[in-house]
Symmetry: C2
Subunit: 286 residues, 2 copies
């Protein structure tokens, strides 16, 4: 059982790190969850010149400066896959693998990812296409599934699924090094889409063609926000927030790119601070 | 006649400087107007630790780092007193002494000042109490007035008034070094308030007592925002803005402390960037 916290921050780019140092500065406990690089867009940015006080800095150096500042203040980034965030009474339960972490408030700073969907993906969501191994594994006991994994961090979820199902086709979008159980067939092929009638029936691969499956799990670096937090309102594909960075779900805040354009560092850092301070004010009242 | 600009920024604290470097980064012309220190609250701050990327820095060092960044990008701070901002067609006229500067959009980043009023001040505003020498001087031709000046930068306005009126009591809140015309009496006394009937009749001084005057000019470091921009909507004493930092007056944006709490550096810098980018988008459309 993991420790419960005051504030859970999902995402460790500029908005998430800014939120984290402000929660620390206010002496509240926090869990900062994010991927290894924290901000791949900052990592790739040639040079940032419009973040006041730090002129002409390569994106990668700025990324490191941000992480170092957080580290100096005792903030650690935890690499976990959050499957869902559910309000239970006055708190939130974050589903992490087969465990839960409780937080009094949540700050979403996951950034934006391309929202590219494969043909058939949206049509069969909930009808054979799932994004959450922990949530839906038991529906596929003794059946045949495919798992599309974006990164190595999803392998634990895949192995958990393999223990439940009869047969798994594992389709990684990266180079696999690990050995999988015997009922897992690792396939290097390009997924073209999904087909079926009322429910999903086959997954279409570029070389191998149609593969009959009972279900497909798509394990993305980032889930669609509205699936991560049930009932969360979006506006033009971004999480809808007000000036306090509050979303429509009481106790849930959002900041940075996930909360809207422009996708800029200073705006993300400012909103991260605002979201953190709003969350602190909120938990003091509950 | 001063040069016209794309965007006028009023105030050169963190929000104003952030707005300025972002306007520069977008290659638009700008005028940045502000007082000498730019941010007296940053100047006085012991240590700032929650501005991401710059850990544990004394406020004064951060103030200098911000100014240097702006200077490196070719941003200059102009010390001018803006008496009013008026929309004229698609542009704004900024009244500066007896001159005008034209801007296509305006960003307000003036921060907050104590809104302490003297007894009677609000009651007699427009009935003998004025904040704008340029606007109201001619009403007092040949009459007796008092001028309360907060800082040396107001002396030019006072001398302009002295040329119009018969007699002036000059009440500085600072040490005066300059010589004034013969019809000006400089008084070192504490102003207790204002008295009168329908209109202002006397100014009450702590030592000298009641002094009969026709009018009083209160020259503050910062005018009330709603007087600076006619029709500007406030909310809890702050300028009302939306997520794009737009005010209710089309083409006028606000950012930082003037746009609401929390009074924090990161939030101000982020909002300054947002306001600048919104203003650039706006002028591209007009």
């Amino acid at each position: 059982m993991m420790e419960n916290v005051d504030i859970a921050i999902i995402g460790c780019g500029p908005a998430g790190l800014s939120a984290a140092i402000n929660v620390k500065a206010r002496n509240r406990s926090l869990l900062l969850i994010g991927p290894q690089l924290c901000s791949s867009s900052l990592h790739k940015a040639h040079r940032i010149n419009n973040y006041l006080g730090i002129p002409e800095m390569p994106g990668e150096d700025l990324r490191k400066a941000f992480l170092n500042h957080a580290k100096d203040m005792g903030v650690e980034v935890t690499q976990l896959s959050v499957a869902g965030i559910y309000p239970v009474g006055d708190v939130f339960q974050l589903q992490i693998q087969d465990d839960f972490i409780e937080a009094k408030a949540v700050v979403l700073t996951t950034g934006v990812v391309s929202t590219h969907h494969l043909p058939g993906e949206e049509a069969f969501t909930g009808k054979g296409v799932s994004y959450c191994a922990t949530c839906d594994a038991l529906f596929y006991r003794g059946k045949t599934i495919a798992v599309i994994a974006e990164a190595e961090e999803h392998e634990d979820e895949a192995i958990f699924l393999a223990e439940v199902v009869e047969k798994m086709f594992f389709l990684p979008k990266y180079e696999v090094s690990r050995k999988f159980p015997d009922n897992v067939e690792v396939i290097s092929d390009r997924v073209k889409g999904f087909r079926g009638g009322e429910r999903l029936e086959t997954i279409s691969l570029a070389e191998r063609g149609e593969l009959p499956v009972d279900g497909v799990f798509i394990l993305k670096a980032q889930m669609p926000m509205s699936q991560l937090v049930p009932g969360l309102e979006l506006e033009n594909k971004h999480v809808r927030v007000n000036l306090e960075m509050a979303t429509n779900v009481t106790g849930v805040y959002a900041a940075g790119d996930v909360a809207g354009r422009p996708y800029q560092v200073a705006k993300a850092v400012g909103q991260g601070q605002q979201a953190a301070l709003s969350a602190v004010t909120y938990i003091d009242k509950v």
